[in-house]
Amino acid sequence: MAIIGRSLTKRFGSFAALDDVSIEVPAGSLTALLGPSGSGKSTLLRVIAGLERPEAGTVELDGVDVSGQAAQKRGVGFVFQHYAAFKHMTVRENVAFGLRVRKRPRDEIRRRVDELLELVQIAGWADNYPAQLSGGQRQRMALARALAVEPKVLLLDEPFGALDARVRKDLRLWLRRLHDEMHVTTIFVTHDQEEAMEIADQIVLMNHGRVEQVGGPRDLYEEPANEFVMSFVGPVNRLGDSFVRPHDLELRNEPNGKTTPGTVERVVHLGFEVRVELVLEDGREAWAQVTREEADELNLTAGGTVFVRPRRTRVFESAN
């Protein structure tokens, strides 16, 4: 079911968390709301869920204006960063909660909960309390709880934010696979561009309560709308008025007329990738990302001179 937000505005005191934001999330997609902290991404998610009331604007779920509806009536599944587990209930009771408040028959609840616990791989923990689960398990429980009521849309607020790096990577791939099976329209909030690019079909990049760009991971990386987008979705060097990705900086030992000379400050070996830190002619710092082989061929040493040519650059009108 598609989600549409129109001209949403939300203020906290004098701070504009959402400044006339409009978004469109296609049915069945997995969309990331990406942005630095304070960009309004969580607020937007909470407005869609009905947990915050916007001062202006409307929210439509599947073509129905739900702006006046309380969270209770919207039929959204919401997953919180810190799980929001019901501490006094077992895992099974947590997952069953939505079905129990809907007064579903006992055996139907049992069946559905068993199914979901299996799906999120915590069936063996059904009678434990959330406090006895690891962070990753708790978040999977929270997801099962949200899915139990067959929500029209699934909203996840930094779902992996409180987990350590390993678990985080596993879980996000798992979420992607789960989404491919279930096709529930899903929005997840993250400040991690890698996470967004890895699993989202569509990324909504936000900054200062506004949407900077909407597009697929590749669009944002290859065709950034402005300097902010370009530097947020990947590393970037600035050369004069133009911006260039470190892997788009070509290094040569000899000048060829289009190059500018630079001094190698440091060579960092990161396995396959080698990071070459440079100071250019005009005193500006930059870094180039080259392969191990390229670095070996160039015979780079700190203090040496290389000649630099950007393969592709971008210039934004708002720059300067």
Binding site: Q72, F97, G98, V101
Partner: protein, 263 residues
């Protein structure tokens, strides 16, 4: 060494200030055997005083529990004008001397008081009667449930309640299934304190009750009256009954206590 000094200091403090006086009351009560003490607490007036004390507690405790939970929810979960004032007013009974409270109610409800005239005209007797005693007891024991519940509500935060809402729970279902189980213990402690305070209230009740033996005399008032009449066994026996009521409350409380809370 250090540890033993601390332990000794702690235990002697408790011993001298808590255990010794209470123990002494028990000792004095049963000094001449069980009989006289039993006789002292089974006179018709003593039975009436006990009934009255329990009756007042039975009305005050539920009233202040319901009010306390609603008030705590309002203070923690809502934003409304005058919230700071409400928060401060809740503490007023702790700061105000009970005698002052009693006098204030006397001024309001006695024959020439603000509400007193109207009430007397309609045949309602508040002061020197049960309603006044209940009102002042509610007043003095009002803060306990609120003060126990507020910090727990703050600590559990709002996310579990919001999660319940997104799962389709109505505000009442959310309260009953999510909030109430989380604050159950705080309410329990608040109830014990409220109960202790309403059983033991003396100052305010003393002022508004008029000490009418067999009518408006509670246990605490009776203990004082008997003491002043040199009926020491009677006074001590009454005290023991009050102490047993308090101990009973604590016991009932700890029976319901979950295992994790005792850990």
């Amino acid at each position: 060494m250090h540890k033993w000094v601390l332990r000794f200091l702690g235990l002697s403090y408790l011993g001298v200030l808590l255990a010794a006086p209470v123990g002494l009351v028990f000792w004095r009560t049963f000094e001449h055997g069980f009989g006289p003490a039993w006789d002292a607490v089974t006179t018709p007036d003593a039975k009436h005083a006990l009934t009255l004390t329990v009756l007042i507690a039975a009305i005050v405790v539920p009233a202040n529990t319901v009010f306390g939970v609603i008030c705590a929810l309002a203070i923690v979960r809502r934003r409304f004008p005058g919230k700071g004032l409400v928060n401060a007013l809740v503490d007023l009974p702790l700061a105000l001397s009970p005698v002052v409270v009693g006098l204030a109610f006397l001024l309001l409800y006695s024959r020439n008081g603000w509400f007193g005239n109207w009430l007397t005209d309609h045949g309602i007797q508040v002061v020197f009667a049960l309603p006044g005693m209940i009102l002042v007891t509610i007043f003095v024991s009002l803060p306990f449930v609120v003060r126990e519940v507020v910090p727990v509500l703050r600590e559990i935060g709002i996310e579990q309640e919001q999660a319940a809402a997104t799962l389709g729970a109505s505000p009442f279902q959310t309260f009953r299934r999510v909030t109430l189980p989380a604050i159950r213990w705080a309410i329990g402690y608040g109830v014990v304190l409220t109960m202790a305070r309403s059983l033991g209230e003396f100052g305010a009740v003393s002022v508004v009750s008029g000490h009418i033996v067999g009518k408006t005399e509670t246990m605490t008032l009776q203990v004082q009256d008997r003491f002043q009449a040199f009926d020491y066994v009677g006074a001590y026996a009454g005290s023991v009954v009050l102490a047993l009521l308090a101990i009973g409350t604590l016991l009932v409380m700890s029976l319901f206590k979950p295992k994790e809370a005792t850990r």
